[in-house]
């Protein structure tokens, strides 16, 4: 029996509406001046005297025993500084901590392959030399003897008796399994007028391919046993947790430094194995170690997005189109190692219900390992798969029951007056108005002329279709959800840090804990600080990047999972308010009044009643830092404020898998109109609109930029981008020739709209945003299905639809129709 209790609803934050100031304005980005001049400092730009370049020798086999490794000939080459092998790694480090409960807990993962290679591209040996070219030459001289083993590529076969087992310690290829059930499925199925059954849907493997590949420059301070790791890892807090125990050192021995990062999108979270290899080499060879990943190596080995299969799907629907619930089996393909997994096995549950009011959900979730590159977070991580799935269900149900896609959505969307809305699994959707966003999107693509446009397209030999993609960008994780994966984990809640200080000459200096990759944190942080302490963003010096020795970070610091506007700016706001209070207190002492009589404006602390009586910031900074004789003994002012923002979360109910998993839910509703060529299956997007609602926008232009980028990535994934493997486990798309990302010529016209539904739970009414939930993928799938309706009603069953696949749908619509059945009670 499911108890009738509810989640703890986060406390409403009483926030004054941001004053008319810099927040909410399109303040030009502070980052741009250096970046447009090529003066950013990206990881490959960091150089040190005597540094050695690393090249990784990688497995050419998807699965093989490593029988022997001989580096002798490589070491003989002039200019080669040294090597690192898997055997050495196994001596000097422990396997990385595993997030999973058993059986995944038993997977052993090291910085280099130990004894066995498990995917093409698995690093086996690291070679260091005086130049990049020499390191590559020397790698060719390393002799590795492999004994190829049978390969498992298709997740659907990974649990077969005859499937080769990747990690014998785990006993099988299953890494994690869990059953999620909420509501009363029996009652819902009894109440339903239709049960729509779908045999199989597939969400494909791709990632965001940031233009800058991974890298680091590692220095080892032998005297104190401490490493400085210049890197573009986007979640140093996570890297530290993985690396410290493996390297048998405390976290203060690992200093992470970043400045500019050339795109991340989640793909730069799991570089800890390579960072450990470089740390070991820096210590062994007593010189700085430089690693810049090659594009081909990134594609072969790094951070693919989770591929997911959906099986035995059933949807319970009432005659009027009301959706009662769904059940299914989900099979997630993690690739060869669990670098951030199996967190994907719970993260999807942040949006288990999508945007809909169904109350009865059962998901039987299994994750397996295969001989492919390890997966890791990718923009929209794990929620995108679930949102694609729920959008597919809506459109397939509508398609089969003859209900219009707009009508079925509006009937089933959670309504704005129901917000904050508790989902069947206890997540609290904070605010939003999905129906209104949809109306705006439809208006932008000229929905009222749709039938006319269909006829026009038909006259030109084209089939026109409209598709809607509705998504949520859930942000600010409650890390307590990790305990649903493994109850022994000691993670919960979330945090972020900012420090704001007033220096001796009156400079306002802000340090963040985050690791931005283009999101403009320096700018938006400056907007918040400026409004609170009474100056302009130009007066604020936000240190670029991250340095764990700044003492301005916490365990969850980083830039990932759509949260900066809440956690990062929440911390900035908190620190700025402390500083503002101290500035007033100090000015009050100097001017002989009470702090209430002081206001901060125009770069001064001054008397409200007599603005002539004013202390410029410089005077305040100088008094505290260098001219403090005679100040009252009890004056508690340092002008150096550190604040840790911590959202209110409870640990979820582990039995019921029930609780609030994220603090905010931004909305994206996209509408896509495309035309399919009847002869070839080639399709072209002729109209596209994205409507976004992320609450209060601190810098609307930065929000728009994120919306654009997420849309472009989704359109790329929908049509072109796929990490496809052959049966032997060879990646068929290991570079930008074969893995086509959208180019300037590929972009359709784009229209944008927005509404602002302030979050009642966040310091600034803002919501995390930027991932976008893959709305473009869902919209393209829906539009193709709509367009092909007149020629046999094929069903779109895959998230990836290159022209070839659309042509196949047109040739054999029955092949996909066979996967869908409707059982109706009359």
């Amino acid at each position: 029996m499911i108890e009738d209790s509810t989640t703890v609803i986060p406390e409403r934050v009483e926030t004054e509406a941001p004053q008319k100031g810099f927040m909410g304005q399109n303040v030009p980005r502070k980052e741009d001046k250096r970046l447009v001049q090529g003066l950013g400092v990206f990881v490959d730009d960091v150089k040190r005297h005597g540094m050695g370049y690393v090249h990784f020798v990688r497995s050419p086999y998807a699965h093989a025993k490593i029988k022997s490794v001989d580096v002798a000939r490589a070491l003989e080459l002039e200019g080669v500084y040294g090597t690192l092998t898997g055997d050495e790694v196994a001596i000097h480090t422990d396997p990385f901590f595993q997030i999973s409960s058993p059986p995944g807990a038993h997977v052993k993962d090291y910085a280099l392959a130990v004894g066995r290679a498990r995917f093409v591209g698995d690093p086996v040996v690291a070679v260091v030399a005086a130049t990049r070219e020499l390191a590559r030459d020397a790698s060719e001289l390393v002799e590795v003897e492999y004994e190829p083993l049978p390969v498992i590529v298709d997740a659907r076969r990974a649990l077969d008796d005859e499937a080769p087992i990747l990690h014998e310690d785990a006993g099988s290829n299953m890494s994690w399994h869990g059953v999620y059930e909420w509501g009363d499925l029996e009652a819902a199925w009894a109440e339903a007028d239709h049960i729509v059954r779908i045999d199989e849907l597939h969400f494909h493997r791709f990632n965001s391919t940031p233009l800058e590949c991974d890298g680091c420059l590692v220095e080892y301070n032998q005297g104190v046993g401490q490493w400085t790791i210049h890197t573009n890892n986007q979640f140093p807090g996570f890297a530290a947790i993985m690396m410290g125990p493996a390297m048998r050192v405390g976290l203060d021995k690992l200093r992470f430094v970043t400045q500019d990062i050339g795109g991340g999108f989640g793909n730069k979270i799991t570089t800890h194995p390579q960072l450990v290899a470089c740390c070991l080499l820096a210590r062994k060879l007593k010189r700085p170690i430089q690693w810049t990943e090659w594009r081909t190596d990134f594609h072969l080995s790094m951070s693919h997005g989770n591929e997911r299969w959906f099986h035995e799907i059933e949807v319970a629907v009432k005659a009027d189109g009301t959706l009662l619930g769904f059940r299914c089996k989900q099979l997630d393909d993690a690739g060869a190692f669990l670098r951030y997994e199996p967190l994907g096995g719970v993260i999807w549950a942040q949006v288990a219900a999508g945007l809909y009011r169904w109350r009865n959900i059962r998901v039987d979730f299994t994750q397996v390992v295969t001989n492919k590159a390890p997966v890791s977070p990718n923009r929209g991580y794990s929620r995108m798969q679930q949102l694609w799935f729920t959008e597919r269900l809506i459109d397939i149900v509508g398609h089969e029951l003859g209900i219009d896609p707009v009508e079925i959505r509006k009937r089933n969307y959670i309504k704005t007056e129901e917000m904050p809305y508790e989902t069947p699994n206890g997540c609290i959707y904070d605010s939003g108005d999905y129906a209104r966003c949809l109306d705006i999107a439809l208006d932008l693509v000229g929905y009222d002329r749709l039938e006319e446009r269909r006829r026009d397209a038909e006259s030109r030999g084209k089939l026109l279709g409209l598709g809607i993609g509705s998504t949520l960008d859930s942000g600010t994780n409650n890390f307590g959800q990790s305990q649903l994966i493994n109850p022994d984990l000691q993670f919960s809640g979330n945090n972020e840090v900012a420090t704001v200080k007033l220096d001796l000459f009156g400079e306002v200096v802000v340090t963040l804990g985050t690791t931005p990759q283009g999101q403009g944190h320096e700018t938006t942080a400056a907007q918040v600080v400026a409004d609170i302490i009474g100056c302009t963003p130009d007066d604020i010096n936000v240190r670029p990047g991250h340095d764990s020795f700044w003492n301005s970070h916490a365990g969850f610091s980083g830039t990932y999972a759509s949260q900066f506007a809440v956690t990062g700016l929440g911390a900035v706001k908190g620190a700025s308010e402390i500083l503002a209070g101290e500035m007033k207190k100090l000015a009050a002492v100097v001017l002989g009044v009470t702090p209430d009589e002081i206001e901060l404006a125009e770069g001064q602390a001054r008397m409200k009643e007599n603005p002539e009586a004013a202390l410029p910031f410089m005077a305040l900074g100088a008094i505290i830092n260098a001219n403090n004789a005679g100040l009252p003994e009890d004056l508690d002012v340092t002008l150096n404020a550190r604040y840790v923002y911590r959202p209110a979360f409870e640990v979820p109910d582990l039995e019921r898998k029930f609780g609030n998993l994220t603090l905010t839910y931004a909305t994206q509703i996209h509408a896509c109109v495309l035309e399919v060529d009847r002869e070839t299956g080639v399709y072209e997007i002729v109209d596209y609109a994205g409507v976004d609602d992320c609450g209060i926008r601190i810098n609307p232009r930065i929000v728009d930029g994120q919306v654009h980028g997420a849309t472009a990535q989704a359109l790329g994934a929908a049509t072109w981008e796929t990490f496809a493997y052959d049966e032997e486990g060879n990646l068929l798309t290991p570079n930008f020739y074969d893995y086509h990302v959208p180019h300037a010529m590929d972009m359709p016209p784009l229209k944008n709209g927005y509404i602002e539904s302030p979050s009642p739970f966040t310091p600034l009414g803002a919501k995390g945003m930027g991932e976008g939930g893959g709305a473009g993928i869902h919209a393209v799938c829906a539009a193709i299905q709509d367009a092909l309706r007149p020629i046999g009603k094929p069903i779109v069953v895959d998230s990836h639809n290159p022209y070839q696949r659309v042509w196949e749908l047109m040739q054999r619509p029955e092949a996909t129709r066979e996967r869908v059945r409707v059982e109706s009670r009359s």
Binding site: V36, Q37, L211, D260, G262, R295, T711, N735, Y737, A744
Partner: protein, 163 residues
């Protein structure tokens, strides 16, 4: 048979300065620019010549500097992103427009994108949107979806560079 030359002295002018260096015969031009001349504004995003982050002007024409050997640039005049701003630090109209129209996020593709755009505007004062798209089709951006880049180049062409 003679061994192929392993090194060669190369004389190139980069952003107005003449450099004469002995380089590895196999050294890519982009690595020469970044690692030996320390001009790290020119970036590398792939190893197959697709991404365009390494785009520079060589004798006035766009080239992907990862697709040439340094020795092939012997005698050439090269312009990189570092040459765009004026001596007084004033940004080039394209740089101003990119910032004003939010045509960059992470900024990694930006130097190559700017050089391709410069080539376009040097040769076509009134480009159409189609011509703008074509001019940067060899430059991959993963952050912006290109829309704001089209706008920025159009704005620079029209002299509308302020925010």
């Amino acid at each position: 048979m003679r061994e192929p030359a392993a090194h060669k002295v190369v004389k190139v002018e980069v952003n107005g300065t003449v450099y004469e260096r002995e380089v590895d015969a196999r050294r890519l031009l982009v690595h020469f620019i970044r690692d030996e001349l320390d001009l790290t504004g020119t970036h590398i995003g792939c190893d197959t010549g697709n991404c365009g982050a390494c785009t520079v002007l060589l004798d006035g024409h766009t080239v992907k500097s990862c697709m040439l050997l340094a020795v092939q640039a012997d005698g050439a005049s090269i312009e990189t992103v570092e040459s765009l701003a004026g001596e007084d630090g004033e940004l080039h109209p394209l740089q101003q427009a990119f910032s004003a129209r939010h045509a960059l996020q992470c900024g990694y593709c930006t130097p190559g994108m700017l050089m391709s755009a410069k080539y376009l505007l040097d040769n076509n004062r009134e480009p159409t949107e189609g011509e703008i798209r074509k001019a940067i089709q060899g430059n991959i951006c993963r952050c912006t979806g290109y829309w704001n880049i089209f706008e920025a180049i159009d704005a620079a062409a029209k002299g509308e560079v302020s925010a």
